[in-house]
């Protein structure tokens, strides 16, 4: 049995489709379902504690985004309609963040680099380095906080910030530098690239990508055809609708939660 992870392209398709769905609607029913679906997919695929921490970071970020976007309303006329509108906009932004968090937690950014066509290698590499920063930093914060506690320095308040930030950033810089050195020393960018065991499109990969495309297509059709309400009215506020076909579409995005799961 092939125990290698799912083809990264399947995840790109899934995340793009889910992100598209979140992008075209402000209906809280669909958006909250997308949060649940993202969590379900992440829970089925996470491999280690570092990923878990990184996903939690995105989850927190998403909640902050919702709160901040809602709070923006206080800079203008405050009304129930305005607040609801802002909240739904924030919820949409948060949903996209949560989907991205799942994508970040279940894929190996450098695995994506290897797949990039030769001409896109350098930008893909820069993107991979950027993607790997969040989990690295999160892991670093935990380790440094522990290390300082072990000598009696507790990290709280602004005064203690250097004790946390300096080692995290310095180690992060150093790691990035070592990585860059190591890649160069191992011939990265010397030309003549070949590919080791190209990753096959397994059944699991197809089961992740195809339903995701179907889900995105359903929402696209609703958005273009206008046969379902994607943006519930906020003035006056009405109870959001939940079209059964669109609910089924979101259900399709949950398929990865049960296929291609890594062995524990």
């Amino acid at each position: 049995m092939d125990r290698r992870p799912v083809h990264p392209m399947a995840w790109i398709v899934w995340a793009t489709s889910a992100g598209f769905v979140a992008f075209v609607t402000t209906d809280p029913v669909y958006l909250l379902l997308l949060w649940a679906v993202s969590w379900f997919v992440y829970a089925g695929h996470r491999v280690d504690a570092e990923h878990a921490r990184s996903f939690r970071l995105f989850l927190t970020g998403a909640m902050v985004a919702v709160a901040l976007r809602t709070a923006l309303v206080f800079f203008g006329t405050v009304s129930a309609a305005n607040t609801t509108f802002s909240f739904l906009e924030g919820l949409r932004l948060g949903t996209i963040l949560v989907i991205f968090g799942t994508f970040n937690a279940v894929t190996d950014p450098f695995g994506l680099v290897r797949m990039a066509p030769r001409h896109f290698h350098e930008p893909a590499l820069a993107a991979a380095l950027a993607l790997s920063i969040a989990p690295r930093t999160v892991a670093g914060v935990g380790r440094v906080r522990d290390a300082q506690r072990m000598r009696g320095i507790r990290i709280h308040g602004a005064r203690a910030l250097p004790a946390l930030a300096v080692p995290v950033l310095e180690r992060g810089m150093e790691e990035a530098h070592t990585l860059a050195e190591s890649m160069d020393a191992r011939g990265h960018g010397a030309g003549r690239r070949s590919r080791y065991r190209p990753q096959p499109w397994t059944g699991a990969a197809i089961l992740i990508a195809v339903p995701a495309i179907a889900a995105a297509a359903t929402f696209l059709a609703a958005s273009v055809g206008g046969w379902a309400v994607l943006h519930p009215q906020t003035s006056p506020i009405v109870w959001p609708e939940a079209d059964p076909l669109l609910l089924a579409g979101i259900g399709l995005l949950a398929v990865p939660g049960v296929v291609g799961r890594p062995e524990r």
């Binding site: 290897r114 290390a147 506690r149 310095e170 990265h188 003549r192 070949s194």
Partner: protein, 526 residues
């Protein structure tokens, strides 16, 4: 044989360096050599290693004069990536060098860059997995590997690309004794059977001195190469058998246990294994008490039902293979990691990190944040409301001379000493050190041993988790060995280490159980 690596009049100064890191180095390494770089911490070994594929100066900047040529190619004219087919480099911190996530892909990465054809690549990955005994790790994520596994995967990844020269910076520093021997044996096989050239830097000379055929001695940036006996004999800080030979005036100086046995066979034998009063003293009060301890990370149980007492005046060495749970035990003792079952008490109460226990982690860099060595230690003192200066702590560890330096500008070994001083400044009753001799030269190690012993006197105790058997032999008053999350041996170092094939120090191997350090033997003989 031709010289595959040449240094001609090389002098190099780091961008903000005051003195040259290496100065006027002339060096020729013949193809098929097994070469060892030795010298005090901060003497330029890592710099020379990194200059051998052009990382110095191409990645570091600074002022470089002279010429380094690798298989005839000038390292200034060729970027490191253009030398990747000839020379492979394994850095000190192998974890930071991994590019891909899966072990198998990581092994193939270098070959992909060199355009090796897929069929050939597949076969070489398999061979390399076998060579370093890694097939079981093939599908693992590199981030989930233990320190020793990471080291072996990094070496395998470098090897798989098929270089003619392999350069390794302290390749055994994270390995348990058996793992270190396996790696050295694998390297020797490459040198002997495949004509590969290996250049490595290492402080734990007892692990490497017997394997190599050329040694390069470093002294403040200047180098001298010769036979291992010649170079290591002049260092004044060789492996225990060499130090013994120096003290007893043996000629030739032994570098291996086998040679020392031969030399000792002719002379008088020490009478009875010594009794060290500090090691066999009466057991006083209990500092740390562990009962039925279970601990786990995510879904892996690391410690299963562990009982242990640490007494006043004790220096307890915790040993065991990579991944045996040594670091976890220390973290639980320090109150940082919550046990899943069982009890841990320091002086009768739940441990308070930084107060009852000061723990220096394996990645000591994680606690350095100040702009000078002195301020780093002061930060700990300030945190516990202590007004005193950092001076005594620095002096005790022999780094008073570095007080004004920025920790970032120091060598890995020096930074470790700074972190140790910063943790020791908690003045906690239990001092815990996780692998405290990584990157330490023998002279610094001696001072660390004196410091830990002094700490344990006066109603306190120390716990040292280590792979370094010679450290355990010299510092411990008691040794426990962990395996499978349980204590499998516990007792006097002479008995526990003497009874082990894997953890026996060199003196035990030469003179039998009970003998731990060269000083003991010399004392018994004179």
């Amino acid at each position: 044989m031709s010289d595959v690596l040449r240094f001609d009049a090389v002098t190099y100064v780091y961008p903000e360096g005051a003195r040259p890191a290496i100065e006027d180095v002339d060096l020729a390494i013949a193809e098929g050599s097994f070469a060892l770089a030795v010298g005090p911490t901060g003497s330029g070994k890592s710099t020379l290693l990194r200059a051998s594929n052009g990382l110095v100066p191409q990645f570091t900047g600074g002022t470089f004069t002279g010429r380094v040529s690798v298989d005839g190619r000038d390292t200034l004219a060729h970027a490191p990536r253009r030398l990747a087919d000839v020379v492979a480099f394994v850095p000190q911190d192998p974890g930071a060098s991994f590019v891909l996530d899966r072990v198998e892909d990581e092994l193939a990465y270098g070959m992909e860059n060199l355009g090796v054809d897929p069929v050939h690549m597949r076969r070489r990955v398999e061979e390399t997995l076998d060579l370093l005994d890694l097939p079981g790790l093939r599908d693992r994520s590199v981030r989930t590997l233990s320190g020793g596994e990471r080291q072996r995967v990094a070496i395998a990844a470098a090897l798989a690309a098929g270089p003619r020269i392999l350069v390794l910076d302290e390749p055994t520093s994270q390995l348990d004794p058996q793992g270190a021997e396996d790696v050295m044996a694998a390297l020797q096989r490459l040198v002997h059977d495949h004509g590969m050239t290996v250049l490595l830097a290492e402080h734990r000379l007892e692990r490497v001195a017997g394997w190599v055929d050329v040694a390069i001695g470093f002294d403040h940036g200047r180098v001298r190469s010769g036979t291992p006996a010649d170079v290591i004999g002049h260092l004044g800080s060789g492996p225990p058998v060499t130090r013994l030979g120096q003290m007893l005036g043996w000629d030739p100086l032994p570098l291996t246990v086998r040679a020392a046995r031969a030399a000792a066979a002719g002379g008088p034998r020490p009478a009875l294994p010594p009794r060290d009063p500090a090691r066999n003293g009466h057991r006083h009060g209990v500092v740390a008490e562990v009962r039925g301890l279970r601990a786990s990370y995510a879904e892996t149980t690391v410690l299963r039902g562990l009982d242990l007492d640490v007494h006043e005046g004790e220096v307890l060495a915790v040993m065991g293979r990579n991944g045996a749970g040594k670091s976890t035990l220390l973290r639980v003792l320090a109150g940082i990691h919550e046990p899943s079952a069982g009890q841990v008490q320091i002086l009768g109460a739940k441990p308070r990190p930084g107060v009852d226990v000061g723990l220096c982690p394996q990645e000591a860099d994680e606690l350095l944040f100040s702009d000078s060595v002195e301020h780093e230690v002061r930060a700990t003192l300030v945190a516990r409301g202590e007004a005193g200066g950092a001076g005594p702590w620095l002096a005790a560890l022999g780094i008073a001379g570095l007080a004004a330096r920025h920790p970032r500008d120091l060598s890995a070994g020096q930074r470790l000493l700074v972190a140790t001083a910063a943790v020791a400044a908690t003045d906690a009753p239990l001092l815990a050190l996780d692998e405290p001799t990584r990157g330490l030269d023998p002279a610094s190690k001696e001072r660390l041993i004196g410091f830990v012993r002094a700490h344990a006197l006066g109603g306190r105790a120390a716990v040292v988790a280590t792979h370094d058997v010679e450290l355990a032999a010299a510092v411990a008053t008691r040794v426990v060995i962990l395996a499978g999350g349980e204590v499998i041996a516990d007792g006097d170092p002479g008995a526990v280490l003497g009874d082990s094939r894997v953890f026996a120090p060199q003196m035990t191997r030469v003179f039998g159980p009970g003998w731990l350090t060269p000083d003991q033997v010399v004392e018994a003989l004179t």
